[in-house]
C-alpha cells in the first residue's frame, strides 16, 4: 500500500541533484551554456506554476503566461519609472501579479473546467493585446528596455552575474513550493483533484483552496517573468503569448505531471532539445515534433515516471519469489 510520502524522497532527491548540478555548472561549462541554464530556470518556474494548478489540483490553466508577463513588465516598470533596484522591483512585480491572481481567481476558480481553460487563455491574450496597444505604458511591440539592471547585456556577458542571482531566487521559491506540496496543504489539493465533491463533503473549502493555489501559482509564474528580465533585458508583449502557457504544459507533461521534479526535469530536457535542434538544423518544427512524438510514445507519463513503471513488475516479481512456496 502506497503511503503519502512514497516517492517524496526520490522526487526531492531528483530536485536536489538538479540543484547541485546547477550550482556547479558555471565551473564546468562555457558562458553560453550557463545562459541556457538560466533560461531553463525561467521555464521551470512557469512549468512549476502550471503543475501546481494542473498536476496537484486538477485545474488546467492555459494562462500562466498572463502572470509571467505581468511579473516581467511590472518589474521593468518599477525599475524604470519608480527607480527601484532590481530585487525590490522583482518583489513589487510579484506582489502585483499575486494581487492580479487573487482578483481574477475569485471568478475563475469557480468556473467549470473547460470554461476555466478558455478564460485563463483569454486572460493571457487580453494582456498581450493591452501590452501591444498601450505604447505609452509598455512601449507597445517596440519593447520596453530595462534600465538600471545590475548587469549589462552583451555577447560576452558576465553570465555568472546573471545566473547565480536567478538560481538563488528560484531555489528559495522552489523550496517554498516543495514544502507547500509536501505539507498537508498539498494533500488537500490532491484530494480536490481526485474528487472535489467528496472533498467538499469532508469539509474542505474547495473554492478557497483553489483560490489559494491559483494565487500562489500566479506568484511563482511572476517570479519567472521577473527573473527573465535579467537575461532578456528587453520585455516585449509576447511575454504574454499563449505559447508560453503551452510550453509550460509541454514541459510539465514531458517531465511528469503531479510530481515536484517533473517540471524541472522537463525544463532541462526541452531546453536541451530546443538548443541542439536549433543549432543543427533549420527544419526545427519537423524535428521537434518528431522528438515530442517519440517522448510521448515512450514515456507517456513523463520522463520522471519511466523508472517507477519498470520497477513495479520487478517489485511484484520479487514479492512473489519471496512468498513461501
Amino acid at each position: 500500500m502506497r503511503s503519502f510520502t512514497d516517492g517524496a524522497v526520490t522526487d526531492g532527491g531528483v530536485a536536489l541533484a538538479l540543484l547541485i548540478v546547477a550550482a556547479l555548472l558555471p565551473a564546468v561549462v562555457s558562458t553560453e551554456y550557463v545562459l541556457l541554464a538560466a533560461s531553463m530556470i525561467v521555464t521551470a518556474l512557469v512549468a512549476v506554476s502550471f503543475n501546481l494548478l494542473f498536476g496537484y489540483t486538477g485545474m488546467f490553466s492555459f494562462g500562466q503566461a498572463a502572470f509571467y508577463g505581468l511579473g516581467a513588465y511590472a518589474t521593468v516598470l518599477l525599475m524604470n519609472r519608480a527607480g527601484l533596484s532590481f530585487y525590490l522591483a522583482l518583489g513589487g512585480g510579484v506582489g502585483i501579479a499575486v494581487l492580479a491572481g487573487a482578483l481574477s481567481g475569485v471568478v475563475l476558480v469557480r468556473m467549470e473546467p473547460v470554461a476555466f481553460i478558455m478564460l485563463t487563455f483569454a486572460l493571457g491574450d487580453l494582456m498581450q493585446f493591452v501590452a501591444e496597444h498601450s505604447p505609452s505604458l509598455t512601449g507597445g511591440d517596440d519593447g520596453l528596455i530595462a534600465t538600471r539592471l545590475p548587469h549589462d547585456l552583451n555577447v560576452v556577458v558576465d553570465a555568472n552575474g546573471v545566473y547565480y542571482p536567478m538560481l538563488a531566487v528560484a531555489t528559495v521559491v522552489l523550496v517554498g513550493v516543495f514544502a507547500f506540496v509536501r505539507s498537508r496543504n498539498g494533500l488537500v489539493l490532491r484530494a480536490i483533484r481526485e474528487d472535489a465533491l467528496r472533498a467538499r463533503t469532508l469539509g474542505v473549502a474547495v473554492e478557497r483552496r483553489r483560490l489559494g493555489v491559483f494565487t500562489l501559482a500566479a506568484g511563482v509564474a511572476a517570479v519567472g517573468g521577473g527573473l527573465s528580465v535579467l537575461s532578456a533585458q528587453i520585455v516585449y508583449p509576447d511575454v504574454f503569448n499563449w505559447k508560453i502557457s503551452a510550453n509550460a504544459l509541454i514541459v510539465t507533461l514531458l517531465g511528469g505531471v503531479g510530481r515536484f521534479s517533473g517540471p524541472l526535469v522537463g525544463a532541462v530536457l526541452l531546453g536541451l532539445i530546443d538548443f541542439y535542434v536549433g543549432k543543427l538544423t533549420t527544419d526545427t518544427l519537423l524535428v521537434e515534433g518528431a522528438i515530442l512524438l517519440a517522448v510521448i510514445v515512450l514515456a507517456p507519463r513523463g520522463v520522471t515516471a519511466v523508472r517507477l513503471r519498470r520497477r513495479s513488475p520487478q517489485a511484484s516479481a520479487a514479492a512473489t519469489s519471496a512468498a513461501p512456496s
Binding site: S30, T31, E32, Y33, V303
Partner: protein
C-alpha cells in the same frame, strides 16, 4: 540512479561540446588569422509571422557569398555563411546570435525580418563586443543608439517611408480627404505617425486610420468601412500576405474603383496575385532585379541566376546587399576588425543591387532609393506585374542628418 547517470551524461556531453569550441572569446586581437574564413551568422526567420520571404533572403545571402568567394573572398579571407532560424522571436534570436558569436566565432551577423529580434540583437552586439550586424528592418528605434552602434540598416525606415508617401500625396492637393490603412503592429503605427507628421500643414485631412490584424483572413469589414468613408485617396501600408488578402477581397467590393488607392506594392506580392490591381499606384523598396536593371548595377543581373522570376528577386536582393556591405566594409577598412569596419562604413558610399548608395553616419541608415509607379500587367519585356512608368526616388532628401 539510472536517471542521475543519464543527467550526468547529458551534462558531460554538453561540457565536451562547449570545451571543444573555443571557450571564452575574449581574444585580444579582433583580426582574423591569415587565410581563416570570415564567418557571417545569418538570422533567417523561417518560422514566425514574417517568414514569407525568408528562404529568398537566404538564397540571396548565399549567392553573394558564392560570388565574393569566386573572386577570392575579402582580403584573402573566404566568406562562410551560417544560417539559423530565429523564429521571429526576440529571445530565440538573441540565443542564436550569441551561439553564432561564441561557439561559431562569427564576427559578423546579418538578417532577420523581425524588428523585435533586430532590436534585441543590436542591443546584444553593442559596444564593446566587436561584432557588426547588418540588417533590414523598418523600425527606426532599433538604430536609436546613433553613430556608435554596431549595426546598419539596409531598407528605408518607417519614417522615410512615411515621408515619401506624404510627398506623393501632397503633390496631389486636389485629394482633400485621405484615409490610412496599415498593419496592426509597430510598423503600421510608425509609418502612419511619420506620414501624419509630414502631412501637417498641407491642407489635406487624414479622415481615418485603421489597423488590420496581421495574418487576418477577413478584411471585408475594413474594406467596407473604407469605402463608406468616401475618401479622396487611400494610403495603404498593408504588406506581404495582407496585401494579397486586401486586393483579393477589395476587387469584388470595388475598392479600387470607388477610391483612389495608393500604397506599398512589392513586386513579389503583386506578382503572386492572380489579378494584380492594374492601374493602382504604388511603391516598393525591396530591390527586385527588374526594378534595378535601369541603374546598371552588375549585381542586378547576378540575382537572375537564382532562377526565381525576375520579379521575385526583392527579398533576395536585400540579403545580397547585406553581405555586400559587410564585404565592402572590410575592404574599405583594410581590416576584418568589426570596429574598424564600422568606422569605414560610416558615411561611406557602397555598391548595392540598387547601384551606388550613401550611408548616413548619424543613424546608420542606408539611403536606399524607393521605386514608384503605376501597376501594369505582364508584358513581353517583363512577364510579370510591374510598375510602368517607373521612377526611382532618391531618399537622401528625407534624412535630417
Amino acid at each position: 540512479m539510472r536517471r542521475k547517470v543519464a543527467l550526468g551524461f547529458a551534462m558531460a556531453i554538453a561540457t565536451a561540446l562547449a570545451l571543444a569550441g573555443c571557450g571564452s572569446s575574449s581574444s585580444s586581437s579582433s583580426e582574423l588569422a591569415p587565410g581563416a574564413p570570415l564567418k557571417i551568422g545569418y538570422l533567417a526567420s523561417l518560422t514566425g509571422f514574417c517568414s514569407s520571404f525568408s528562404q529568398e533572403y537566404v538564397k540571396g545571402a548565399e549567392l553573394a557569398v558564392k560570388q565574393i568567394n569566386a573572386r577570392g573572398g575579402v582580403l584573402g579571407h573566404k566568406l562562410q555563411l551560417e544560417v539559423r532560424d530565429d523564429k521571429a522571436t526576440a529571445n530565440v534570436g538573441v540565443s542564436q546570435a550569441r551561439d553564432l558569436v561564441l561557439s561559431g566565432h562569427a564576427k559578423y551577423l546579418a538578417g532577420t525580418c523581425s524588428s523585435a529580434v533586430g532590436k534585441s540583437v543590436v542591443q546584444l552586439v553593442a559596444n564593446p563586443s566587436h561584432v557588426l550586424y547588418v540588417l533590414g528592418v523598418s523600425d527606426p528605434t532599433v538604430f536609436a543608439g546613433g553613430p556608435q552602434i554596431y549595426a546598419f540598416n539596409t531598407i528605408p525606415s518607417a519614417t522615410i517611408e512615411g515621408k515619401n508617401a506624404a510627398a506623393y500625396i501632397r503633390a496631389h492637393p486636389q485629394w482633400k480627404r485621405i484615409a490610412v490603412i496599415s498593419e496592426d503592429y509597430s510598423y503600421g503605427y510608425q509609418v502612419t505617425a511619420a506620414f501624419k507628421k509630414a502631412m501637417a500643414g498641407s491642407g489635406q485631412t487624414i479622415i481615418s486610420q485603421d489597423y488590420v490584424p496581421s495574418g487576418g483572413t477577413d478584411f471585408s469589414p475594413y474594406i467596407n468601412k473604407l469605402i463608406a468613408e468616401h475618401p479622396d485617396a487611400v494610403y495603404s501600408t498593408v504588406i506581404t500576405e495582407d496585401t494579397v488578402t486586401l486586393v483579393k477581397q477589395g476587387l469584388p467590393l470595388g475598392l479600387f474603383e470607388k477610391t483612389k488607392f495608393f500604397g506599398i506594392m512589392d513586386y513579389g506580392t503583386i506578382d503572386a496575385m492572380p489579378k494584380p490591381p492594374v492601374g493602382v499606384e504604388g511603391y516598393t523598396f525591396y530591390p527586385s532585379v527588374s526594378i534595378y536593371r535601369a541603374t546598371g548595377s552588375p549585381f542586378a543581373r547576378d540575382l537572375e541566376s537564382l532562377g526565381t522570376t525576375a520579379a521575385n528577386g526583392g527579398a533576395a536582393g536585400d540579403a545580397f546587399n547585406q553581405i555586400q556591405i559587410i564585404a565592402q566594409g572590410v575592404e574599405k577598412a583594410k581590416s576584418t576588425d568589426p570596429s574598424k569596419v564600422r568606422d569605414a562604413l560610416d558615411e561611406a558610399t557602397v555598391q548595392t543591387v540598387q547601384g551606388s548608395v550613401k550611408i548616413h553616419k548619424c543613424n546608420h541608415q542606408i539611403a536606399m532609393p524607393i521605386a514608384m509607379g503605376t501597376i501594369v500587367g505582364p508584358s513581353a519585356a517583363q512577364p510579370f506585374a510591374h510598375f510602368e512608368p517607373l521612377t526611382l526616388v532618391d531618399t537622401n532628401k528625407y534624412f535630417e542628418c
